[in-house]
Symmetry: D3
Subunit: 245 residues, 6 copies
């Protein structure tokens, strides 16, 4: 495993997993733009080249993802699991992802939601990341013996479409209303030109973020779904609710 | 409506509603001790004198509640609704509570959980407070015309017993591990001497807080249940998850 | 009870209940425009004059509702229950609403959703209508002895805000994409000028309908939530699913 | 992949998947009889020969399934996945089923429900079909490059036993009361003579359909569970509710 | 409060509450027949005379209920709350029912389920009984000061129709297959002649009990829904599961 | 398959599956101590040697498990599936476990809960055992042809941590308050010395059992979660509820 691209003098990075080259941008690109804008490193791990999609070649899609990552201020790498539309839940995959977690040593991780009624790669990757975050802590795992165990702070799920939003987790809502954030996010989505020409993905996501923002009393917002309850030192940190109407 | 007991040069107070003189202490006393320890005013509103309970006279119980509030560093007032074990969901009650909200102008409110399989006064008060928090915003409400409308930041529910913890809201976990917080909370619970002599209430709550703390990797903790999703500016604020095992 | 305003030579009317003068337009106005456009009578029953709201006098709001109903091609009446923000769940209210149902003899009824975390009048009215639809069938109810019992075909719930959408009922999605429908709906919402000047209600609803439409592969759509499972003679009638992404 | 057995001058066929030779008949045979009676082609795909069951040889069970399909007016084919009681969720299976979907080009698909507490092959096949229905749309899938992508209208789940009925999807109820439908369904169930001699399967299903019918106010009915919300042009199409008591 | 009709030398009685004269028989009559057949006293409390129903006069219905109770081997009393179809959730009702509980001092109580989408009196009575069972324990309740507090062992809910079965409580299944039990239950249901002539109530219930029995591997069975988890000394007592298919 | 270690002149054994050497002791050791104390044989099947954990060698952990089993009065065997942290859901595993069930012929089985947000081996083993319990009944399964089919009475799930307790199954609560039971359980947990030195597992479990006991009105208790509804002959057997506060 080669050394990670991120220096450890910075704050702990945000680590984001996506099943296809465009999932991260469409599902939570605004959050990444928000985090990198405040100086936090973000690293994207893409688990296929989108080779089974209707539009775009693997080469095109790789280039689009790299461009989008740059627009979001994030670094990017590609990892090969079973390939687009072929992902299965295998221990070997979870262990490979756990190795990436140990290398990057993030505080927070974002992964696709576990709701199953969506692209079959999405929720499978979500489950693999959830398992990987746990395996990253286990000192005796022989495949990862050379990488120091690492416990993350929190795993959040993002939803690529409204259908993927889990009904059984209370979301946290991230305010992404600052114009430069919205601009960067929109540009990153549009970087996936092979996809956006065929379907109204950008409009779907901006409409969704606007609706979430209206509900929360801000311009635009994105909901994330924490895998475990959040711990706070005081109510002072959590005094803002999402209920404008 | 007489002027509230809290000066408005301070940070917005925490406002806490309880159906009986001891509910707040047993359900979330540790959180209140935590907040007042950091300089935030807290005000308790008790909606009966506990006059239908098996133990303690109304006079005793009022005195116990006052003593407990002082131990938590909180102010206290009593409001008469239908009386202990007689509470009904009436618009007039919600409006009365909305008047208290307008007077105190809190940022956050704590109220008993809406889970119905517990003391019938608990969830009814929770529903009344939830409705009151909304009515407090409506400018045309004739009964409250002299009190300026007020929108709170967030409503949290507390659970007096484990049975009252809602299964459909992801909790936030408040770390109350500092020894002086635990000491103040324990003293406040024990101030309800008429109750604690009959049942192992204090042990129940400390065991519960210890279990919640063990799960979160701290000494003691209390779970609260937000009525609406929480809004944040950044993931930085929510990087700590409750999953130690 | 005076004779209803609707002749019975026409198809059975759609009967719609709203707690405040603008709830119906914001929550399901597009569906009403769609039904009246195809020749089905629709009748709106408004259960307050919005007298507790921050903006608009009862007189203004009554006029706005009448104008909006006309724009939707619907008839309208006002019924007095407990008044805005004062609604309670009382048998006498359910019986009064059951009398209206017996008079109008609708096939389908629309009522506000039962989700409780919204304006307290909304879900209470929803519960009263649900009970009323049942009471309308009972031949022995002494208050309604002079009105012939009536069994409706189906009760649907509408959600005034996204927060009011029930998570435990699979919705049906009504396509309201035809431009004249959208125009009529928008005009009906804007007829509530006292409200729309203060908050972005129209934008909220159009954004919501656009998002629901994008998900279903149409321009705009509104979700309704059936109170009971729907019965069909054949799969032929239900071959269109809402899943475009 | 050989050419499908169904001419495309007819209406789009109903495509039904079953894990074992008798699952379709027991779970939704009445619906198939109803559809074919009105001239719609139906095609059954059976994914094992029932070779792990206690009763009946694979040869017997194949013959029984063919006889039952004929009684329902449906065509039938057998596809080999992992074999009875050995089914695993593999991408290769989902792709194989997606190929069948592309070949048959159905409007609606029926598959076993996803509830896991039943025969392990049932829910696994349901998940594979759900994934297959999505994969059938993806133009870049290399294994299926020669078959034109196809998007179905709706996927419904059927429940082989009451235990398999999902609690989180509002069902649609199909009226199968016409005597000739019930007769055809019963005959198709009884065609599985190796199974019905050992357990009261036919009685279970007729009792279930009678109970569902009584609830809906008809003689017999079968519930199906849509994978996605249904889209309609008007309330007119959905005016019949299932609530007789 | 007059002395109860049940001597206290016997085992603790089963106490059953019904909203209308026939609810208990239709919802759980077989369970009562089963309990009285083994020598346990059962007492029915009916909270209206069915005076709002379409069929039968209050006098007829009272007589039918008395006859049915006798056929079940149970005693019966009528208590007046708000009247048929007029029941409201009032503290005074819960306290009155708590008084009955203190008088009868039952071990187990049966009450209608809390699912709201049914006759409005049913779930309201269920909630009142649930609250009453709690109030019966409170020593300070002034209205009941002369009746010694009483804590029941368990509260179970019964469902008058399949729609009333709660989806969020795992049921316990009571085997009522013995022919004399089924005979007594059927006779008790048929004693409500004013109702059974108009709707297929008896057939609905027998079909339901047969389906539940088939699922559990017995002739007939009725599901009850415990309000709180059950406590056991050993797994030995709970070794029989309901899963025959 | 070698002959089982348990003579069949005794009552049917309790069969307990664990993914790692310590899971059974931490999750439900008190229940096993309770059952063996009353003369019922219990047999533990451990599906890894804990070789991926941070602490303890496989050899140490095997020894610890054997010691713990002896302290609980249970027999033990180890079965090799995919190894610690590598478990996958494969048909071959379920069939292997079904073979163990046929050999031991238990009445009740305990397995780890299906809640997925825990160690990935836990819920996967739970699913495999659930499937295995069903496969054990199928006469035609070729791999198990030499072992007579067996139908168990009930499958219960245990939760290794509070996070693993399923929210959608009503638990049964087993009273383990007798001092000798608690002593045996504590000793069995402490036998896993390699684990208990690193984390407060014993304290977690005793705190949890104390809290569950306080809620049920006993000293200590453990909740189990039945896979299917329980069948009873009479209410007499289920008269004790868990609700002390």
């Amino acid at each position: 495993m080669k050394p990670g691209p991120i220096s450890h003098n910075k704050p702990a990075p945000l680590l984001v997993f996506g099943a296809h080259p465009d999932d991260i941008e469409f599902g939570c690109g605004g959050v990444i733009a928000r985090e990198t804008a405040s100086g936090r490193p973000a690293h994207l791990v893409i688990c296929s080249r989108g080779e089974s999609g209707t539009h775009g070649t693997p080469k095109q899609r790789t280039a689009e993802a790299k461009k989008a990552a740059a627009l979001l201020g994030a670094t990017i790498e590609f990892v090969k699991l079973d390939g687009d539309s072929h992902l299965e839940i295998r221990a070997v995959h979870a262990i490979k992802l756990a190795g990436i977690i140990r290398r990057l040593r993030p505080d927070a991780i974002l992964a696709p939601s576990l709701v199953e009624n969506q692209h079959p790669d999405h929720w499978r990757l979500g489950k693999l990341v959830r398992d990987a975050a746990r395996l990253a802590r286990f000192g005796g795992l022989r495949e990862l013996r050379r990488a120091r165990p690492h416990a993350i702070g929190q795993l959040f799920f993002y939803a690529v479409t409204p259908e993927a939003e889990p009904a059984d987790i209370t979301p946290v809502v991230i305010d992404i209303s600052r114009p430069e954030i919205l601009t960067a996010w929109t540009a990153a989505m549009e970087a996936h030109a092979s996809q956006t020409s065929a379907r109204a993905y950008v409009q779907l996501q901006l409409t969704r973020a606007r609706l979430r923002g209206l509900r929360a009393g801000v311009e635009h917002a994105i909901a994330l779904f924490p895998n475990d309850p959040l711990v706070f030192d005081s109510l002072h940190q959590i005094a803002r609710g999402s209920r404008k109407f």
